[in-house]
């Protein structure tokens, strides 16, 4: 059948331009209303077993006590399952875990969708553009459009590549990223899995990311993929050290490996208004900056995004990925960023504690997510303003500056412990933790270190 394409750009009646279809907010609203009506009806049908009493009771109580609202709601649903459906013990425990996991996954998937549009919007504003603004109000439905696009695109496995490894690599990256979320202390009594050695589990999961990235690069049968994977592994290994050293200082002073207990160690205010967060100590401040820089490198964020540096490596280990598998990579990167920012909040920024005693009425979990999202926005801001570094600068920065600084932070934390904090602690620790900045950084920034580099293999 012949398809006629209108050759002349004469807009049809009712439209002013051919370039974009007119926006139809009415249709969007109608669809949303339909989903709401159907969902509510289903819910009412499902809940028709002693539900109204127990569940409305829980909702009313949750509204009255916002600080522990998620716990009350969960207890309400569990109580309804026990009374209305007569669930016994093994199933009730399973339901409890499933509820927690479902909530966490739902919250972070929502955050992922939000961040994917916020990042593009903020970057666009920094670059004096509008960013996506066509799908829905202010472009808010862009993640939905992107999701549909990713799902319907062709899924390509490169010829000569390793089919199964190519399939497994994004999963291997996404699963540990989600597991990290179970360890984060969202609020008092709101850690999903209370592990005595939580921080160790976090680093063990980070280790598996290296293997996953290598699998992706190697199985693609593409030289850019392999080069990108090798770069990514070199980068991850180099920046795991400062990350560990900064976390170790907190472990030393909090005396525990559990993130929840670390947050509890940062409770209270000095002089009634200065929070006792670790970031407000000299070693904690330097440690936090160190942790955040290393976190940016670990999650392959700009200015350390050269494993996928598009101007030289196409897209690094993700070159041969398309469609849904690419979406899983994308998801894993964002979830990994959330997880590592969550740990930065728990370790240095006081977790769920409010910055001022007056602000204690705002629930702890809201504070946690506010701080977490603040760090994510900071990462986006850095991406919009910093140029990408070169691979030799990247490795030198870690080995010659960050790792020595990490050792100084460790020594500073020990001195802080022995001086007992206070003004004496500030006097002794400040020179120790800031020394690398004055002694080591000038050498890295010298003209000689940043001169044009010729690689020995590129010479004739």
């Amino acid at each position: 059948m012949a398809v006629t394409i209108p050759s002349d750009a004469a807009p049809p009646p009712g439209r002013t331009s051919l370039a974009f279809p007119a926006r139809r907010p009415g249709l969007t609203l109608a669809a949303a209303a339909g989903v709401l009506v159907v969902g509510t009806t289903l819910l009412v049908l499902l809940l028709d077993r002693k539900a109204p009493g127990i569940l409305t009771g829980a909702v009313v109580e949750a509204l009255a006590h916002p600080a522990t609202a998620p716990l009350i709601l969960k207890a309400g649903v569990l109580g309804w399952l026990a009374e209305g459906w007569g669930l016994g013990e093994p199933w009730l425990g399973l339901a409890s875990i499933s509820l927690s996991l479902f909530t966490i996954v739902a919250v972070f998937m929502g955050l992922f969708a939000l961040t994917s549009i916020v990042e593009r919007k903020v970057l666009a504003r920094i670059q004096n553009r509008y960013g996506p603004n066509r799908a829905g109000l202010w472009g808010l439905l862009q993640p939905v459009a992107d999701g549909i696009k990713m799902l319907t695109k062709e899924d390509i496995v490169p010829a000569g590549g390793d089919r199964w490894m190519h399939l497994l690599a994004p999963v291997m990256l996404a699963v540990p990223a989600f597991l990290v979320l179970a360890l984060l202390p969202y609020g008092p009594g709101m850690t999903v899995v209370e592990l005595g050695v939580g921080i160790l589990f976090f680093f063990a999961l980070g280790a598996s990311a290296e293997v996953a990235v290598f699998m992706a690069g190697w199985s693609s049968n593409n030289k850019y993929s392999l080069l990108g994977a090798m770069r990514a592994i070199a980068q991850m290994i180099s920046y795991e050290m400062p990350l560990l050293l900064a976390a170790l200082a907190v472990v030393m002073l909090a005396g525990t490996l559990s993130p929840t207990l670390m947050v509890e160690a940062q409770a209270g205010h000095a002089f009634g208004f200065v929070p006792q967060w670790f970031v407000f100590t000299p070693w904690g401040l330097v440690g936090f900056v160190l942790f955040f820089i290393a976190a940016l490198a670990e999650s392959n964020r700009s200015p350390f995004d050269l494993p996928e540096g598009e101007s030289e490596l196409v897209a690094g280990h993700m070159t041969e990925y398309s469609g849904f598998r690419y979406a899983v990579f994308f998801l894993a990167e964002y979830i990994g960023l959330f997880g590592i920012c969550g740990f930065a909040v728990a370790l240095f920024l006081g977790g769920w504690h409010a910055p001022l005693p007056v602000l204690d009425f705002i629930p702890g979990y809201l504070w946690f997510f506010l701080k977490l999202y603040g760090l994510v926005l900071l990462a986006i801001w850095i991406r919009g303003t910093m140029p990408r570094v070169r691979i030799d600068q990247l490795l030198a920065f870690s080995w010659l500056f960050l790792i020595p600084t990490g050792f100084c932070v460790l020594a500073g934390a020990a001195l802080w412990h022995f001086t007992g904090g206070g003004w004496l602690g500030w006097l002794v620790v400040t020179p120790v933790v800031t020394a690398p900045y004055f002694l080591l950084l000038p050498r890295l920034q010298s003209a000689e270190a940043n001169a044009l580099r010729t690689y020995r293999f590129s010479e004739e």
Binding site: V197, A204, A207, M230
Partner: protein
């Protein structure tokens, strides 16, 4: 024998570990063998977790999956030559190689078995209460009793690292 959920888990982890270990020896492509080896390390870590030794399990993942497996992969990628591939297939001493491999495997297994049997842990009563490992106690044990060997190991590793860097830094003059 009464199979509980816990017992089923043990068999699943054991099959994973042993299967991956066998695959390491049987897979032809070295990179694939290294990655299956990483899976084997993951299985060993899972077995530690199953035993309640969280600390050991996570350290196993951190060190073996995160460092050792990646190191092996790097060594394979940086030293492999594509043209040297066909030489190892078949050959005159195939039977001898199989015998040698079996001998080494049996000797290693014998040494391990002797160590396990000699420790007497197989005949010990299993305590009713699961043992709770305190990380702080483990750390104190390490720092109080084992300081000299710990420092020695550190020195040896540092010397090896410096030696490796020195070897790698030698710049070859181009044969112009």
């Amino acid at each position: 024998m009464n199979l509980t959920a816990s017992g089923l888990l043990f068999f699943a982890f054991a099959v994973l570990t042993l299967g991956a270990g066998t695959a390491v020896a049987l897979v032809r492509e070295p990179v694939r063998a290294a990655l299956v080896g990483a899976l084997c390390f993951v299985g060993v870590g899972l077995l530690y977790l199953w035993l309640g030794a969280e600390f050991l399990g996570f350290i196993q993942w951190l060190v073996y999956v995160g460092a050792v497996a990646v190191l092996i992969v790097f060594v394979i990628l940086l030293t492999r030559r594509e043209d040297a591939g066909g030489e190892t297939e078949g050959g005159r001493f195939a039977g001898l190689r199989v015998l040698g491999g079996l001998g080494v495997a049996l000797a290693l297994f014998g040494a391990l078995a002797a160590a396990v049997l000699g420790s007497g842990s197989l005949y010990r009563e299993v305590p009713e209460e699961p043992m709770v490992l305190e990380i702080a106690a483990l750390g104190r044990e390490l720092v109080a009793g084992a300081v000299p060997p710990l420092i020695l190991v550190g020195v040896v590793l540092t010397v090896a690292l410096v030696g490796g860097v020195t070897l790698a830094l030698v710049e070859r003059k181009p044969d112009a």
